[in-house]
């Protein structure tokens, strides 16, 4: 056995997860499990109207309900200057309304009671009179002259929020004009909802010293603490945010929602702990929404299939405020990764954002800031181009991919891709699924009039925000951190600035440190999520934990190794220059049996430090990544369609991912399975539709369709490994790749099956009735 094998839980090992121990026993500690003596419960009155003036709000009957202690209204908050709060995009959002409600399901008042049942009784007893106002649901209509102006409070004269563009407009125009073939497609990526099985919630407590502690479903506790300090005026040292176990985040637990603020106000006013846990209808009507992009894209190519230029014009529906969770400088997120896996000479992207009478949208849904919208667009168009050119879609991609030797690659819209081997991943996927045989089968089936389709998506992700010079949230630079401390017996406590929501950080961070410190991961404890103890960080979303905090952990460990090497030299009575770190221990160069383990060094660091050396063994690193990382993959989907009913069955789905060096293959595969399912879901089932009155038509899981094990395809996964050249150990991040890449593969497969009907797009989700309509109108004609 080599020493490397002897190390338990290093990088590359599929060790089972540490955190499982509590979850499988039902001993997780989620927000609703936090139980403080004297806790009161907050429930919310919500608006039945999408747009209305509040003409009266009467608390009396609610206050008469046994157990109800307080009813908090917008007027109450306005007195404390808290009726409005800033959004992450520097817009403004109501905590509670004083005059108008702007979407159905909006928080209108908070009821505080001694138990949840009494609070619900109180909510039912609050009387609100509304005077309905004209509703703006369609963002195109919102921008038409004469549309009701929704944000006159901001001095707005129309519903246009911002315009953003990138790329060379003139060159793209020229290139498209000169292209032999240009296709144009309108794609609507509808509003969807993350629907983590745990909704949002918090427990707010103010202690006798005036310190505010909030246990909160947040993916970014440190940033939340700073936001709370800036909004409330409380000193930041008097605020402690604790993010306990989180029952799924997917981007929905990044922003600050009104319920959190109302709970804090309630705790401050009552002097007792206040718990707010959102019910599912509140969750599905008021927060955690993603997408809602109306995209018009044009793609040019030469006759023989060389892609030439890409032009994209998008209208973003943000609801009544821009509360998207994006880095400050990027109002449309990283949408300009839209040139994807192809070396376009030129491209141009513009996005306009509009206000509507919908709740704020624009969080990520398991996606790094609008990357799904981008990957979906380019991969849908490339497939359409292949059909237009009568080329095999795999061949068209292979012909156009950025070649492996071109990395680092400068994209037309300004990104520097770190590494890639796109052809390698696609060829592997084709081999795994038996691509050529499937095409033959399809040709035979088509002759018999059966509908079978094959779809490909070869996406490029962009994760790990990010370099601090480009990326910040409300001015906070998007570094992340790790603080590593080795105890005298060689056991480790590490705290990081991110926050796991199921990703398995307690295991994978321990594996990074095990590898870097030569200490079994069994002896490494990982802590996150408590702002009083963990170093400052921007949190976990956008697949950034491994690229940032994971890197910080490695760098902090290497800092420790520098000091440890000096101590080892002291113990081995050689010069530090003669010490090398090899096989997870310090060795005298060329003398392998003269060595010291990290545990031996740690003991000495506390009991026998060399002269002039500080005692202890610890380090902190705030890691500012030099670049983003660019995971990629190729997915192939096979579908069969029931011609009579329009029902689509995913027969097979092969996903080949490349996320660089893998810390724990078991965990990575699990994340890909989950990501694929959250790519399948919006492609086939999930949507938050609104009717003309602005009513949310999917306010419970009866209508918001999360796939069960029955609908979910049986995923097949594969991998290639192209390390990131700039990450300390070559990792890239993977939690979201599959969600980004999967939808286009599925939709491309369905459209491939429907090729005989001449249709080039069906907007997702591909409900049976939409597919039926395509088949039926053609067959009937």
């Amino acid at each position: 056995m080599t020493p490397a094998e002897a190390l338990h839980g290093g990088i590359g090992q599929s060790i089972p997860r540490k955190e499982d121990a509590r979850f499988i026993r039902g001993k997780g500690n989620y927000v609703d499990d936090v139980d403080l003596p004297g806790t009161l419960f907050l429930d919310l009155v919500r608006s039945p109207y999408a747009h209305a003036k509040i003409t009266a709000l009467r608390k009396e009957k609610a206050l008469a309900v046994p157990g109800v202690l307080a009813v908090i209204t917008g007027a109450d908050l306005a007195a404390a200057k808290l009726a409005w709060m800033p959004t992450l995009m520097s817009d403004t959002q109501m905590v509670l309304p004083t005059d108008e409600v702007m979407f159905q399901g909006q928080e209108v008042a908070g009821v505080v009671a001694t138990d949840r049942y009494a609070a619900a009784d109180g909510v039912a007893a609050v009387e609100v009179d509304y005077e309905p106002l004209p509703v703006v649901v369609d963002p195109f209509r919102a921008l038409e002259p004469g549309a009701p102006v929704l944000r006159a409070d901001k001095g707005k004269k129309d519903n246009h929020i911002w315009h953003w563009e990138v790329g060379d407009k003139a060159a793209t125009e020229k290139a498209l004009k000169e292209s032999a073939v240009v296709i144009k497609e309108r794609l609507y990526i509808p509003r969807i909802h993350v629907s983590s099985i745990e909704t949002c919630g918090c427990v707010a407590q103010v202690d006798a010293m005036g310190k505010l502690t909030v246990w909160m479903t947040t993916q970014a506790p440190h940033a939340i603490r700073t936001v709370f300090a800036l909004v409330s005026g409380l000193p930041e040292n008097q605020i402690r945010i604790i993010s306990p176990d989180i029952g799924g985040g997917f981007g929905g637990k990044v922003p600050v929602y009104p319920g959190y603020v109302i709970a804090v106000v309630a705790a401050l006013t009552t002097g007792q702990p206040v718990k707010w846990v959102e019910d599912r209808t509140g969750n599905l009507t008021a927060d955690s929404f993603a997408r809602d992009y109306h995209i018009e894209a044009e793609l040019g190519a030469t006759k023989d299939g060389k892609l030439t230029a890409l032009r994209v014009k998008t209208l973003a529906d943000h609801g009544y405020t821009d509360a998207a969770a994006n880095p400050s400088k990027f109002p449309a997120g990283l949408f300009h990764i839209i040139t994807g896996s192809y070396p376009f000479a030129t491209a141009f992207v513009e996005v306009d954002a509009a206000y509507t009478n919908k709740p704020p949208g624009g969080i990520a849904y398991r996606c790094s800031f609008r990357v799904t919208e981008a990957a979906y667009t380019i991969e849908r168009l490339v497939d359409n181009m292949a059909h237009q050119l009568k080329m095999d879609p795999a061949e068209l991609r292979l012909k156009n991919f950025i070649p492996p030797e071109a990395f680092p690659f400068q994209s037309a819209l300004g990104w520097t891709y770190d590494s890639g081997n796109y052809g390698g991943a696609l060829k592997k996927a084709m081999e795994m699924i038996g691509y050529d045989a499937l095409r033959k089968e399809q040709a035979e089936k088509r002759r018999r009039g059966e509908l079978m389709g094959i779809g490909i998506s070869s996406f490029t992700e962009i994760v790990g925000a990010g370099p601090a010079k480009q990326f910040d949230i409300l001015g906070l630079k998007m570094f992340d951190s790790a603080e590593v401390r080795i105890h005298p017996t060689g056991k480790v406590l590490a705290r990081l600035g991110t926050k796991s929501q199921g990703q398995g950080h307690e295991t994978t961070y321990a594996q990074i440190l095990a590898e870097e410190l030569g200490i079994s991961s069994d002896y490494i404890t990982i802590e996150e999520g408590d702002t009083d103890t963990a170093p400052y960080g921007l949190g976990t979303y956008a697949s950034r934990s491994t690229p940032t905090s994971g890197a910080a952990a490695a760098v902090a460990a290497r800092k420790i190794r520098q000091k440890a090497a000096r101590i080892a030299a002291h113990l081995l009575e050689v010069s530090p220059d003669d010490i090398e770190w090899k096989d997870h221990k310090f060795q005298v160069k060329g003398v392998p049996d003269k060595s010291k383990t990290m545990a031996e060094v740690a003991f000495a660091a506390y009991t026998n430090p060399p002269e002039g050396e500080e005692a202890g063994l610890e380090a902190v690193d705030y890691y500012n990544p030099p670049n983003l990382t660019f995971p990629f993959g190729s997915y192939i989907c096979v579908v069969d369609i029931d011609k009579e009913t329009g029902q689509v069955k995913v027969r097979r789905f092969v996903a080949v991912d490349d996320c660089g060096v893998i810390i724990n293959p078991m965990i990575v595969e699990g994340q890909i399975h989950g990501g694929l399912t959250m790519g399948f879901a919006p492609a086939m089932m999930e949507e938050i539709p609104y009717d003309a009155e602005g009513n949310n038509r999917a306010g419970s899981f009866l209508e918001y369709l999360l796939p069960t094990a029955v609908e979910t395809p049986k995923w097949e996964t594969g991998k290639t490994t192209t390390p990131s050249p700039h990450h300390p150990f070559g990792a890239k991040g993977v939690g979201e790749s599959a969600t980004v890449g999967a939808p286009a593969a599925i939709v491309n497969a369905v459209l491939d099956a429907l090729e005989p009907y001449g249709v080039t797009n069906i907007d997702i989700p591909l409900s049976a009735h939409k597919v039926w309509k395509v088949i039926h109108s053609k067959d009937a004609a």
Binding site: Y117, D121, A124, M685, L702, E703, E711, S767, W772
Partner: protein
């Protein structure tokens, strides 16, 4: 999402339950499985003053075949329909339906009586009972009466059951030789109400033609629908492709779907057409010994 307060009673006999219902004059609801009712109470769409929990009444959960009828006790959990050998062998329409009701966990608690008497057009068992020509036993202050399923469903959530009556039993005419039945449900996912669902029972005579047929439809109108014209049309036919197609058209004519997230009206009517044809074919196959 928490329900309002209510009085709770757990009577030990049907008579006691009827007395409590009568005493509350329409303000009380029977609590059987509660799988629909409790959800409506949590949404405060239903706010009964009292719940009469009939789960403590013995001998209301059974499935047995008598000389002339298959009888099912109202408190039989819908999952049991899928586990009964009698039903799987001779009334597969009900085991088909059992597998399609909500999800496996909900089926463990939801009851046959509740599914039939709730009056939700999305419930799966009513269409089966319409196809089977079942009768419901309703017990009230004045005694028991039998209500034919085909006269039971009046409008969404409105049935022939009086507020002081309890549905205690379903009687289904015994399936004779040559009987085949099936239930097909098109749904968006497990746990959904049907986009369209079709229940068929038919009897094939010695000569090979259809002697009798019943077709019921789920969630394509304000109530479960008995497709009378389609059922009548099939009688005397051989079950040729064109017979099935015609029956599908007649069933679609009988449907009155609403547009919703599942699709527009014309789509749903076409699904009634398609699934009626397919379900008749399945039932015919079973009548001839098929799976």
């Amino acid at each position: 999402m928490y329900p309002p307060n209510f009085e709770y009673y757990a009577p030990k006999t049907v008579q006691e339950a009827i007395g409590l219902l009568d005493q509350h004059q329409g303000e009380a609801k029977v609590l059987a499985g509660g799988q629909s009712l409790i959800g409506m109470m949590k949404l405060r769409l239903a706010q009964p003053a009292a719940l009469i929990d009939i789960n403590r009444i013995p001998d209301l959960a059974y499935i047995r075949e008598e000389e002339a009828a298959l009888v099912i006790g109202a408190l039989t959990r819908t999952a049991e329909l899928g586990r009964s050998d009698v039903i799987r062998g001779r009334y597969p329409i009900l085991s088909d339906a059992s597998a399609e009701i909500a999800d496996p966990t909900v089926r463990n608690w939801g009851t046959v009586g509740g599914n039939l008497s709730h009056g939700d057009p999305g419930n799966d068992l009513p269409a089966c009972m319409l196809a089977l020509g079942a009768e419901y036993r309703a017990e009230g202050p004045k005694g028991a009466r039998m209500i034919p399923a085909r006269q039971f469903y009046q409008d969404s959530f409105v049935t022939a059951l009086q507020s002081n009556e309890v549905l205690t039993q379903v009687r289904i005419p015994r399936a004779g030789p040559g009987t085949g039945s099936a239930y097909s449900k098109m749904e968006r996912k497990v746990g959904d109400f049907a986009t369209a669902a079709v229940a068929v029972q038919l009897k094939v005579g010695k000569g090979g033609s259809i002697d009798a047929a019943g077709i019921g439809l789920t969630n394509v109108g304000p109530t479960a629908i008995f497709a009378a014209a389609a059922s009548e049309f099939l009688t005397g036919k051989t079950g040729s492709d064109s017979d099935l197609k015609r029956a599908g058209e007649l069933a679609a004519d009988a449907s009155r779907p609403f547009p919703d997230n599942r699709g527009p009206v014309e789509f749903k009517k076409d699904m009634v057409r398609v699934w009626t044809r397919r379900t008749i074919a399945h039932a015919l196959g079973r009548a001839k010994g098929g799976p």
